[in-house]
Symmetry: C2
Subunit: 383 residues, 2 copies
Amino acid sequence: MEEETELPERAPVDGNSYSFRSAARSGQSTSTLVAVARTAGVDPSTVSRVLRDDPAVRVRPSTRERIIEAAAALGYVPNVNARSLVLRRTMTIGLIIPSASNVVYDQIIKGAESAARAAGYVLLLTESSDFGAVEAAYRELVLGGRVDGLLIGSGNLNDSLPDVVFERSGNCVVLNRLIRGPMPSIIEDDERGMNIAVARLVELGHTRIACLAGPADVDTATRRLAGFKEGMAEASLTVGQRYVERAAFNEGGGYEAMRRLLSLPSPPTAVAVSSVIAAVGALAACHDANVVVPDDLSMIAFHDAAIAGYLSPPLATIWMPLFELGEAATKLLVDVINGKSFASLQRVQSPEPRLIERKSLAPPPPEHNTATARATARREPAR
Amino acid sequence: MEEETELPERAPVDGNSYSFRSAARSGQSTSTLVAVARTAGVDPSTVSRVLRDDPAVRVRPSTRERIIEAAAALGYVPNVNARSLVLRRTMTIGLIIPSASNVVYDQIIKGAESAARAAGYVLLLTESSDFGAVEAAYRELVLGGRVDGLLIGSGNLNDSLPDVVFERSGNCVVLNRLIRGPMPSIIEDDERGMNIAVARLVELGHTRIACLAGPADVDTATRRLAGFKEGMAEASLTVGQRYVERAAFNEGGGYEAMRRLLSLPSPPTAVAVSSVIAAVGALAACHDANVVVPDDLSMIAFHDAAIAGYLSPPLATIWMPLFELGEAATKLLVDVINGKSFASLQRVQSPEPRLIERKSLAPPPPEHNTATARATARREPAR
DNA sequence: CTGTTAGCGCCTTCAG
DNA sequence: CTGAAGGCGCTAACAG
């Protein structure tokens, strides 16, 4: 079955230096509207109208055909810059996110791309994490006329949105972030998701439930924590003294925070983790401390991802409608761009968050077992 | 320590419908070159020259200052469409990749972005996995004049590169893929990386070494497999009958392939996995089959990523210069765009691939132990 | 129904 | 050293 596609075993490297200068060197299509018009024997404006399916024109079929043929023959592709210049719109939407390699943003991107395409727009992705970059992006992209609007998925609450953006405050939608001010913003029901997680842990019989929350300056983290507390209150449970840990949304953050929770005099029997990636680290901390999930500790994480099903044990998660968030944000932005009215704040409520049950969930261990396990755990050396 | 940033406990949703139409509705800066020229009392062309630091101009300082001030006061941002139209270059590079949420492409993107910025370009990211999309992207982006060139990181060997792209064959660089034809292409030394992995396993005393390779139509997978065989040959080891598994580069692929390897009559004592993500699945398969890594089986994966350090056990990897690949590809493309000569095929050779040692590596188990473990393993139920 | 004209905002020869 | 003029490729009123 080893059908190797033929390839030099070790391809020649840095060989033969070419220096071909392609015809289309400047990167632009060589044939223009006038070229097409000439070969079709009509006026450029007619070509423009026909090629754009301008409804306000009814050329005779033979002419239309001639034009289409000429365009095809010349490989004509309209120049978007010229078009944007006169139309004053680029049919491009900018999306600025902290990091593309993130299961969360991946789904958001796909949703945004889908909605953009449906509305006739293309997406221009930019990575950057702080609002300083947002300002730069706003200038370069929106003010520079490169895009018609901007989806902003970066930045945190403590940063203030750049003045330029606020002053003009047009053509922007903030995504997955709650922002004060006139700018429309669209988020998920993070509280609801966390409610569901806590409710499940309560249902299993847990009372000593911890929350491995995200950083204090990220509002999704704050809203998830609020949902956690809400869920605990609804179950008439108190949130333990040191049962709320703030940590970065990455493996290292989850690892360290989990270590702190496990070293508590009276550690939790369940933990709701604010992010799948942090949960990977949290699981690692459990392994290192000989704490068995779910026997000693139940774990559930916010946001579902393929990897969750392949951890040890497979990790229960809360699925959130991230694709739909990307879609909704894009639709909202398109409305903004077109001057339609819109709600200043929206939550994506459907499909509903749902629990993905996996093996990391179990009833709490009998009391004495737990104490013993933890005593052992605390003596384990650090990683 | 719970410094919650103030927020409505549950913010009002879908409330007050705005319909403000911002001043900059069309998304473009309102102030133009002529506006700046008027308020500065000079000619537009002078403003243009000063603002671009045209070396062929020495205005008197006072004039220059007046211009700069006027531009700042009006918040002037040049319109890139107009500029591109006349310059015939957009200073934008398109990057087309299968999926952004991939630790591999993440690093490539960051490298490309860095090099692009350094050369005065911005990156336009597009996600799509097949060459059909590449064709569409080439038309829309390159021929449409939206970008000056295209970095192509998608597609596989069995697809043929679209005719348009081949005919024009300008302003494109293929990245992480080996392509026949005139188009420049830049890759990593995948063979070398795999050599290192095999060498380490051999050094530990393994002889029954398997390769969990990627799909046959992806050339990186094929090159890694070639490196595997090369490494085995160098150690005078034979590659076992069924010791080469082809699987998708994802968790599920790794899981299934590993299951097949473990169910072999005489299973391997070590496995080199072609991708970290597949390795996550492979590890899960081991857990499910009660095969202990590294006691029963050593594992090493191609490409390093943060998550590798937080798996159970932490997974040894081969680090590859992916950031540098992105950088190099971008520099190459910039050369192509500028008509400079370039090598048709390049390999990124520095920094060198290196082994990241982690706990998934150990000497092979004593012979009889292994047999027993495997007999047990085969009786385990499927996940 | 089709051609004519006038720009969109900017850069770049040219004169002055 | 600065202003004037033309045009990049396209679309959108206008005429005809």
